[in-house]
Amino acid sequence: MDFSFDVFLAAIPSLLKGMVITAKIAALSALVGLVLGTLGGLARVSPRRVLRLPALVYVTLMRATPVLVTLLFLYYGLPSAGLLLDATTVGVIALGITNGAYMSEILRGGIESIDGGQMRAARALGMSYPLAMRRIVLPQAARRVLPPVTNELISLIKNTSLVSTVAISDLLRAGMDFMSWKANTFSPFAGVALGYLLLTLPLIAINAWLEKRYRVT
């Protein structure tokens, strides 16, 4: 055990910088994931096959591919296709589209868990399908998917560590750099682990607050 409190303290500034980058990538890819997940989930339950089918292909493809593979595929593949994007953007895309596929399935499950009588009652009142979805089904589904969505977002935060493989100085990369520099493993990594914990705690708190506020019926 080579833990040194001095090394731990000395690592904090560079770890904090890494944390900011990790937080940024996590936030951006969560945004992409939530948008894609909402669209994907709605498309998966759509009465129209032209929407259902592409969504199914997207979800199947993205869930079958390891995020790391998607990330490296885009990182090395896009330039050879003539598209030069910076590493952070590639990271956000890879994490976002993967996360979106999982979010789609969570939302689909949530929507399908709502009794069909709700949609029938809404339509019988003259609501259009989109209006019934927005006003009646989605608000109920949202409550039910809150815990799995939180789970997925926590996974996403931790999966951002994969971008350290494509030359991004995220929290993990900052810790690894510090480790090599100081030839000390435990101290910076204790900081790295703590950093991820600090990033996920607010999510857990928000989830708990939302669940209490919109109690599931």
Binding site: D115, G117, Q118, R120, A121, A122, R123, A124, L125, G126, M127, S128, Y129, L131, R135, I136, P139, Q140, R143, Y214, T217
Partner: protein, 260 residues
């Protein structure tokens, strides 16, 4: 005798299948404005499927439903030529067709008052304050004005069903469809719902009611329809149907129901 008005609802030769099973074998039925038509018959006779076709919650395979002069589901050209009525036209029709379900289907994330005002505000675009005032009148009518701020889960089944009736009435429908609305209620809760329906009938609301409550059919209906195996066996006034049924099947059903 000629009828003074065209019927508000005319169902002609309606056929419906679920997969290969035909559940409606050519139903013909017309409902006049102000009339209360009660459909009775054994379970699986197609009564509920018939109601679901009237507001096109379920598609049908042949025949015609015309509500207030407008086709429901499919345009006037029948057979292979038939064309779907545009979704928008269907939504407009449904505003005028109130429906109450066996399972209430209240919106659990909304309060009682919000359940009633939801469609007037978001479908019809009525000002929220006006919609709320009208909703309170309806809630008072079903005896639940004091529950306006409760959530449905806090209410008994009978109370929930009365709210569901108020919710449908809030759209000021021209025809109310009742689909076995007391079937999932405990016996002691059926009465309060039937009382609300009776009051509605006395006010002149046009109603098409599917029910197992023969007492209600006998006392409230203008005409009773007996259905079996996807066909209408007999239509008549309650007196005729209950005292001198024409068909042997009707007789058997009524006898079995009254003693069972």
């Amino acid at each position: 005798m000629t009828l003074p008005h065209a019927p508000i609802l005319r169902i002609t030769n309606l056929h419906k299948r679920y997969g290969d099973v035909e559940v409606l074998h050519g139903i013909d039925l017309a409902v006049q404005a102000g009339e209360v038509v009660v459909v009775i018959g054994p379970s699986g006779s197609g009564k509920s499927s018939l109601l679901a076709c009237v507001n096109f919650l379920e598609p049908f395979h042949a025949g015609e439903v015309v509500f207030d002069g407008r086709p429901v589901g499919y345009g006037p050209a029948g057979g292979a030529m038939r064309q779907r009525v545009p979704e928008q036209a269907l939504n407009l029709l449904r505003r005028e067709l109130g429906m109450v379900f066996q399972q209430f289907n209240l919106f659990p994330h909304l309060t009682v008052l919000q359940n009633v005002t939801e469609a007037p505000i978001h479908v019809k675009g009525i000002a929220p304050a006006v919609a709320r005032a009208e909703a309170m009148v309806l809630l008072d009518k079903v005896g639940l004005a004091n529950k306006a701020d409760s959530y449905p889960r806090a209410l008994s089944g009978g109370q929930q069903q009365r709210i569901a009736i108020a919710r449908a009435l809030a759209m000021r429908p021209k025809l109310m469809l009742f689909d076995e609305v007391t079937s999932s209620l405990d016996p002691e809760l059926k009465g309060e719902v039937l009382r609300v329906m009776r009051a509605l009938a006395e006010e002149g609301m046009t109603m098409l009611v599917v029910t197992h409550e023969l007492g209600f059919a006998r006392e409230v209906a203008d005409r009773v329809v007996f259905m079996e195996q996807g066909r209408i066996v007999e239509i008549g006034t309650p007196e005729a149907m209950f005292t001198a049924p024409q068909s042997a099947r009707t007789r058997e059903f009524l006898q079995a129901s009254q003693h069972g």
